[in-house]
Symmetry: C2
Subunit: 245 residues, 2 copies
């Protein structure tokens, strides 16, 4: 069964190669999207090649809805986005994937049923297909080299669906909880200061204070883990041992 | 020659199949990135298969720098990001592609030389490779299905490089300048009102005012182009002509 999470349907319009349908399924499922609709696939349905390519995302193909024409696929949809490489339609807003997926989320939250259309590999959507859409999504690629394939277009749109959902963790310190504490840093700094003092490192005396401050700044700038601190203690102990031998 | 635009180098570390190197080049150039470095490609260099796959982005391969090991590839770099599917390193910040590319832009603006590492297709980067990075990029994929391939990982990172650059046009009304003016909408509304009045549409009289307001709301909600307005005038004229025959 498709997931319960409200989400847009991704509609592949007259896709050509089964491999590309499978790759599109993978791209969708990478971002938790699992409602695929397929309109008039060139090489028939179900597609062995699609299944082989989809591997872990094969469920999406099993559950995909098949339609003879685009009108049927959009029967229950209240808002439709069409992806195109070069927007040709002149009377619809052309949105970045980011704005489009923000809009899709807002509409879906209000109970709308949203679809996103992806055209056949070679030619893209026909004007007739785009005419059924309320807005156009255009990925801002290098104008000198707009070469996204079907699965890549699906991937970037799915990525934006996920990204604009706000669930993305932007910065994660996996180490959380294992950073050295101020006391441990202080002990490390004191250890180094003491030994380096003995070793005559802080010379000449007029510069000693500044050198110590620089050293303390170094420890704090490094953001050390407990393991780092232990290792740095060990290094200093070893140098002292070596000197004493 | 590579473009002058300041940008990160994308470093493919021990890539396996030439096709994937070519696909990575295409993915980069989609977003205007053209500084590729290749470390110890499994099947040798130059790679015919890479060139065949890269097609329009072949220049990136011609200009790619080849290195025997990762240390050499990072020789001139001051800040390094490593992409990994599942972050294993425990002492580095793990960033979303978005935050990472924002950071990369800031660093590059300050004159730093930034690299982004991408691992071999199957296994990804080794711990030893990741140890050379200052931070980790992890694409927030579906934890139940993290299946990005090399070119897809390059694509999403390149996409974020471009997106965070601020040059993206989020909403483009291609029609700009050709929308109908208030006066034209007013004339259209008046035309319809007048003819529909003659046709006995606004009935019963107690509801006429409300019906007219609804009709006006319809015109404004539709956001019409001049061409639309002309067409709507034409429709009404034709209905009148038809009636008069």
């Amino acid at each position: 069964m498709p997931s319960e999470t409200p989400q847009p349907a991704f509609v592949l319009v007259r896709p050509q190669m089964g491999e590309n349908i499978g790759a599109a399924a993978r791209a969708m499922w990478n971002f938790g999207l699992d409602r695929m609709r397929v309109v008039a696939p060139r090489d028939g349905w179900p597609s062995e090649k699609a299944v082989a390519m989809a591997s872990g995302a094969g469920r999406l193909l099993d559950e995909a809805r098949l339609y003879d024409d685009l009108a049927g696929a959009l029967d229950d949809c209240t808002y439709v986005y069409a992806t195109t490489a070069r927007p040709r339609e002149l009377t619809k807003p052309v949105l970045s994937p980011e704005r489009a997926m923000e809009g899709a989320r807002a509409r879906i939250a209000e109970g709308e049923r949203v679809a996103v259309l992806f055209g056949p590999e070679r030619a893209g959507l026909e004007n007739e297909d785009v005419a059924r859409a309320n807005a156009i999504i255009s990925v801002p690629v290098n104008p000198a080299f707009p070469s996204l394939n079907l699965a890549q277009c699906v991937l970037l749109t799915g990525y934006e669906w996920q990204r604009t959902g706000g669930g993305v963790v932007h910065v994660a310190d996996v180490l959380r909880g294992d950073w050295a504490t101020g006391r441990e840093i202080e002990a490390l700094a004191a250890h180094y200061e003491e030994r380096l003092e003995e070793a005559g490192f802080f010379f000449p005396e007029t510069k000693a204070e500044g050198m110590k401050i620089n050293l303390r700044n170094l420890w704090s700038r490094m953001r050390l883990s407990r393991a780092d601190v232990q290792m740095l203690h060990g290094i200093m102990r070893q140098m002292v041992r070596w000197k004493s031998r």
